[in-house]
């Protein structure tokens, strides 16, 4: 028994070490385009494993990522840009004086990005988790819209539809990969604890979970706020990767992409979320050709911007109808090495 745990720990350590080594190697050896895709994969891994926590593990259908990622990106951008840089680019309205005063280093910027998202998630938890029903999905869907409306209508803070530009490019694979690794470890730590068990119990049978003394409101709120925190951090990393953000970046497509990722990987599996991220973010680059004009030899099709999204939605519907378990089901990597019968 002792030996098995030790073996498992060694394997975990080896996985973490080789991930970090790969991040270093890629950052120092690969070309800019590849590094950018890897950065995207790292950031989307953070988002996917946290989105999976509320949707897959806790079973509460939510459509929140674009809202919280937007908040994280804006909070981080406002903190990373110094007063001069902000004054220079606010063209629609003059910024409020306090907006100019905001300034922090990268670590604090990410921390506040996450914390601010988590606090908003806490506030949203009260209307949606105290009642039964699937109101979380519709409320978070609306929330994503409202955040964009707020960002557009408050140019004194957000520079309106022009967005924020010239954000210092702090994000690199050390940051994105390092935080992604920590996020995965943190999420797995939650899943393998009484909190994770309670989340799964709520997913499987909420009434039975309550009958075991589980405070379901608290557990759902924890899962939701944890997701929001990491999505905020991910948003901050994204802002410092793209160097410019605007309300149009955080449309529902952002959330939809993450939904495909976790469904394809297997709802409820963190391993699956990571696999899904690599497939979808990698595949999404590859699928760019769909939006472009195509020459089939016998006929040419015009450019069809948005074709990718049609393909994405067809994939989602197909997986749901014919392969609901996705790639991993609810299993994690280590479950693949278990004997039959054991769960």
């Amino acid at each position: 028994m002792n030996l098995i745990i030790k073996k498992e720990q060694w394997i975990n350590l080896a996985i973490v070490a080789s991930t970090l080594w790969f991040m270093w190697f890629a950052q120092t050896h690969f070309d800019e385009y590849t590094v950018r895709i890897l950065n995207n994969i790292a950031i989307f891994t953070i988002l996917a494993v946290s989105y999976n926590l509320i949707n897959g593990v806790t079973g509460q259908f939510s459509l929140e990522p674009n809202g919280f990622v937007a908040i994280g990106a804006y909070v981080a951008a406002l903190l990373l840009l110094d007063g001069d840089a902000k004054e220079y680019q606010y063209d629609i309205e003059d910024p409020y004086p306090w907006v100019l005063l905001l300034h922090a280093n990268f670590v604090w910027a990410l921390f506040f990005a996450g914390t601010f998202s988590a606090i908003l998630a806490l506030i949203l938890s009260f209307p949606v988790f105290r009642v039964r029903g699937d109101y979380l999905a519709i409320v978070t869907l609306g929330f994503g819209f409202i955040i964009r409306i707020i960002a557009i209508n408050n140019p004194e803070v957000t520079n309106g539809s022009l967005g924020l530009n010239d954000i210092p490019e702090y994000s690199n694979l050390y940051w994105t990969g390092g935080i992604a690794t920590l996020a995965v470890i943190g999420i797995l730590n939650i899943i393998y604890s009484k909190y994770g068990r309670a989340m799964k119990a709520i997913r499987d049978d909420e009434d039975a979970a309550i009958a075991m003394g589980v405070n379901t409101f608290k557990v759902k709120t924890l899962a939701f706020c944890t997701s929001a925190f990491l999505e905020g951090v991910g948003g901050g990393l994204l802002a410092a990767l793209l160097t410019s953000i605007s309300p149009d970046l955080f449309t529902f497509f952002f959330t939809f992409q993450l939904l495909i990722i976790i469904v394809l990987g297997g709802l409820g599996s963190t391993t699956g979320a990571i696999i899904g991220t690599i497939l979808v973010i990698g595949g999404s680059e590859w699928m760019r050709f769909l939006d472009e004009p195509m020459n089939f030899g016998f006929m040419e099709t015009p450019a069809m911007p948005g074709m990718r999204m049609v393909v994405f939605s067809v994939i989602l519907i197909f997986v749901m109808l014919f392969a609901r378990e996705g790639i991993m089901g609810k299993r994690e990597l280590k479950d693949l090495f278990k004997k039959r019968g054991e769960s």
Binding site: N55, G59, F61, L63, F126, P127, V128, R130, V131, R132, G133, D134, Y135, A137, I138, V139, L141, G142, F143, F145, I146, I149, I152, N153, E206, D207, F252, F256, L259, V263, L267, M304, P305, G306, M307, M309, V310, F312, S313, V314, L316, I317, M320, L321, R324
Partner: protein, 298 residues
Amino acid sequence: MDFTVFMQQMVNGFSLGSMYALIAIGYTMVYGVLRLINFAHGDIMMVGAFLGYFGVSILGLPFPAAVLLAVVGSAALGMLTDKIAYRPLRSAPKISLLITAIGISFFLENAFNVFFGGTPRAFPVPEYMEIILSLGGLTFSVASLMVPIVTLILLAIILWILFKTKYGMAIRALAFDVNTVNLMGIDANRIIMIVFGIGSALAAVGGIFWAVNYPSVEPMMGVLIGLKAFAAAVVGGIGSVAGAVIGGFIIGFTEVVVVAFLPEYGGYKDAFAFVLLILVLLFKPTGILGLNFDKSRF
């Protein structure tokens, strides 16, 4: 405040509320029989508006015939989505159904976007609907007068179906217990399909009214209108048709009143329905007329 201005806004609110009500009925009926938030409902409304547009501008149909085409087409689409996407998932976990619904919604939006373009198209409003009537200082177009009248007629028909026909009884029974319906010797799946048909047909009417009053159609129009109509259904009490209508009017009036009298918050006009939704969930989750559906059933 000027009385005429106030009355004018009431007329506008009545018209806007009617459109929300027509769309909200579909949400509430589907929720009643399947406990599903049909995310695709707003997009089916969009398809209805597009069919009306195609009917008039491409096929050259007279307006009423285009409406009929839209109603029949949307109802068929609604029933088709149920048959191919929702029915196979009846016994699957709820989350699968919701994800599929989101998938259908996203598919319709983007397919229309790819094939017909994202720029709004001007809806060819028949001339007689643009005639402006004036009555004691109030002015309104024939279209804005027609909306509430047609809504009330349709509502009467729906209530008649629900309370006076065998299928209506089955729909109401299904909202409480699937077994009862099976005992009545009626195929539950058929009833659910009828519900999708009715809801989608009403959405198409709502969509065309929308296109006539804000004279344009575009692929993403269903998103926000759908969200607001869902909020209307929850505010009125999800599961109840009368509640959906009341909720629709509440949201319509609030929006009109806020824009008219607090113009500085006009940019947030799309947010009010959402705020109302949150307040209702916090303080009266069953809505104004709601049935307590979500009480755990042991």
